[in-house]
Symmetry: C2
Subunit: 454 residues, 2 copies
Amino acid sequence: MGSAVEPVGQADVIVIGAGMAGLRAAKELIAAGRTVIVLEAKDRVGGRLKHGKVAGRAVDLGGQWAGAHHSELLAEAERLGVPGYKQYQDGDSVVCLAGKRTTASFGVPDWPIEALTEVALLKSRWDEEMATVPADAPWAAPKAAEWDRQTVETWIEANLETPEGRSLARAVPRSAWAADASEVSYLWFMDVLRSSEGLDQLLGLQGGVLDTKYVGGMHLIASKLAGELGDRIRLGTAALSVVQDDDGVLVHTAKGGFRGRFLIIAAPPGPIGRIQFDPPLPTLRDGLQQRMAMGNTIKWWMAYDTPFWRDQGYSGQVIDEDGPVGVVMDDTQDGDPGMLVGFFDGEHAVAASGIDQDARQALVVSSLVKFFGEAAATPIGYADNDWSQEPFTWGYIGVMGPGAMTRFGSALREPVGRIHWAGTETSTEWAGYIEGALRSGRRAACEVAMRDNG
Amino acid sequence: MGSAVEPVGQADVIVIGAGMAGLRAAKELIAAGRTVIVLEAKDRVGGRLKHGKVAGRAVDLGGQWAGAHHSELLAEAERLGVPGYKQYQDGDSVVCLAGKRTTASFGVPDWPIEALTEVALLKSRWDEEMATVPADAPWAAPKAAEWDRQTVETWIEANLETPEGRSLARAVPRSAWAADASEVSYLWFMDVLRSSEGLDQLLGLQGGVLDTKYVGGMHLIASKLAGELGDRIRLGTAALSVVQDDDGVLVHTAKGGFRGRFLIIAAPPGPIGRIQFDPPLPTLRDGLQQRMAMGNTIKWWMAYDTPFWRDQGYSGQVIDEDGPVGVVMDDTQDGDPGMLVGFFDGEHAVAASGIDQDARQALVVSSLVKFFGEAAATPIGYADNDWSQEPFTWGYIGVMGPGAMTRFGSALREPVGRIHWAGTETSTEWAGYIEGALRSGRRAACEVAMRDNG
C-alpha cells in the first residue's frame, strides 16, 4: 500500500484525532520529549466540542459542562486561563415524567409516596450494583453475563413498578448518553453509571456533572490547547489506512503518508472502523468497533429578550421523558439575552433529524410553552446542531447493546501492536464526558511513553 | 472532492460490490439495456462466496448450500450449467445440547418427553409469531416494540423451561446467522425466521436450507456470472467516497472517479459505513449501518482417508450447542476423501479467532472425536477461513441488536437520492442466504430501471 512512497511526515508518535483526547495525548507526549503529529479529518479541532453563535453570543454546539468532580478538566481550564461560571439553579425545576407535569423544589418532585420511595431505593440499588463492576474489567463483574444479555428496558420492566420510577430510569441513559433504555445493555449501563459516580452526580447541577460552564465556550479550551501544539496538527487530513510493521506504523491520507514508531487513535470506536487496517485488526477489536453505535443527539438553543422563567420562579431546568425535548437548562450569561439550551436525545433525535430546522424549532417552542407558558412562544433566536450528521463523529457517544461488553469489551483499551486507543469511551472514569476524554489521552500517552524509550 | 477531475469510468449505473447481489443487479440492468460498471474492493469476485482447496479438492470457503426453496439460486446454477448434488443425510445425527450427547434418527433426538413437547410447541409458537411480522415492514409488527427491546436470550429465559428446549433455541440464531441469542433482538429474529420460512426449513437438510451443493463449489456460480459481465467489473477498486448531486453520483476510488446516473451499493450494512458520503447519509441510514454488526464465523474442513462415520451409521451431521464447534456436516463427494465441514459460530468464533490455525485444528479434532470416536483423530487435511478477518466483509451476516429494527429498520431498503441498496440483509425473503442476495440484486436493479428511463 504505497510503502515505496516516502512519507510526507514523520514523528515518534502519530495521533489520529484532534478532539480533547488526542490533543491531551499529544501535549503529554511532547512534555515527555517525544515528537508528535496529530492528524485531524475535520477542518477544525475539538471533536465533540464545537464553536457556534446564537443571538450574537458564542455557544457550545457540543460538550459544554465541567462536572464538580472533573478534576483534570477544571485544572486544564484554569491553566489555560478560561474563566468558568456556575450553572444557574435557583427556583423550581419542571419534571415531566409518566405523562404528568410537576415542579420540583430542591430536586424532589411532587409525586406519590410510592414513586418517591421507589426512586430512593433505585438509587441505592444502583449504587450497590455499580460498585460490583470492576473499573478496568466490567466484563468480569460477578453478574456480567446476566446483566449483559438484557437491555436496560428489560431490567426496568422486571424491577420497577411505578410509572414515575420507570420513566425516570429511562431518562438516565437517554439524557446522559443519548441512548434509549431499549437499545443498551444493563451491564454497559452499570459500568458507565459507575464511571460517573452514580445518580446523585448525574442528576446534579452545581456540585454534580453540570456544575461549571466557560465564558466564550468550552470549545475555547480545545482551541487554546491546540494553539500550544501549533503546526503539529494537520487539519483536513483523514486517515484512510494504517499499515503496521515491526518498526512502526504508516498512516495513509489523501495528503500523503505519515510514519511513527507508535500510533494513538483518539476517535469514537465506530468511526475508527472506517479506516482500513493492514494487517486487519483482531476480531475482538473489529467486533467491538462494529458494536458501539453512537448515541443520537441534537443540541439546541433558544434565545429570548430576557430570562423570563427566572421571574416566574423557574430554574430553567426541565426533565421531560414524555416529549421530544428531553433536557433543558438555563444558559443565560450576565448581560446577555435569556438563553435556554437543550437536547433531542435517542429516538427523539433520530426523528428530529429527519425534519428541517424550522420544524425542529417549532417543536422546541411548543415544548417550552408547555414548560414555561406563553412567554416562551416569542424567541429572538434559535440554532441547533445534529451530531448524528457530523462527519467523522457519527453521533454523540459510543454505546453498547447486549452482548458487546462481555464478548468484545476487553478490546476497548488493549493495544494492537503499536496502536494504542484513546477517546472518552475508553476511559474508566467519566466515560462519555470531556473529563473522560482528557483522562484517556493521558493514559494512552503514558502507555506509549512506557514502551518507547527513545 | 476532486469533482474537477474527469472520471475514469462512466455508466448509467455504478454498482459497488461484486458479491452475488451486485453481480445479479449488474446482470439484470445490462439485460434491461443499461451500461454498468461494478467496483469491487477485493481482488476477487463472489463476496461471501470464496474458492478454497482441502486435500486436493475444491471447497467453498464461504456460502455453500442451496436450499430446496431457493428458486432463484437453483435456476441460476442450472442456467450456468453447474451440476448440483444433494446433501448426504443417511444415518443418525449427533445432537449435543444442554450438556448431553444423544443421537437422533429421523431428526428426533432421544430426549425426555417434556423437552420434545416444548420443542414442538416452540416450533408452532414461532410459526405463529413470525407470521405476524410484515415482510416489508417488520418494524410495524403488532408486537414490534415489545419484541425489539429484548434479546432472544431474555425471551428464552422468560418463555422456555427445559434445558434442551433452551439449548436448541440458542442454537438457531447461532447456527443460521452466526449470532448469539444474547446479542440479537427478538423482533429481528422473528423477521429473519419468517424470511427463512421457520424452523422446519432451517433444521432441514434435503428439502430444507441445506439441500444442494455444487460440484466444483458454489463459488463457481459467482465466477461464471462474473465472466458474463467481463471487463465491466473492476477488481481491487474500493469506493472511498460517494458524492451525490442532482444529476448523478460520483464514486471516488484510488484508481480515479466513476460516475453514474444511479448507484447500487451491494455490500453488508456495516462495511458501507467505511465509505464517506457527501452529503452525509440521513441519520436513519447511518444509524442503521452503525447498528448491524456482522455475525462471527469460522468455517472449517477436515479430510479423512474415508468417510468412516458413514460405516458407523452416522450421517455426519452434528448440532453441538455445548462445544466450540456448533454445526458439522458431511461434505464428501464421490471418489474423494471423506470430508467433514463445520463452523465455529458466535462467541466460539470470536474465541477461536484469537488462537492460531493449528490450535483451531486441535479443537476441531477433539470435538470430532467426541462426536464420532477415535477414528476422527487422524485426519489427512485441514483448512479454515475466519470471516471476521475478511477485509471489506468484516464477518458473516449483518445482525440487529435490540432497538435497531424499530428505530432504524425502515432505512434498510429506502433509497437515498440516487443511491439504492442491495445485499442479502436487505432481502425480505431468505435474508442471510445466497438466495436473499440474488433477490436483493434483482429488486435493486428493478428500482433503478423504473426510475431511469434512459
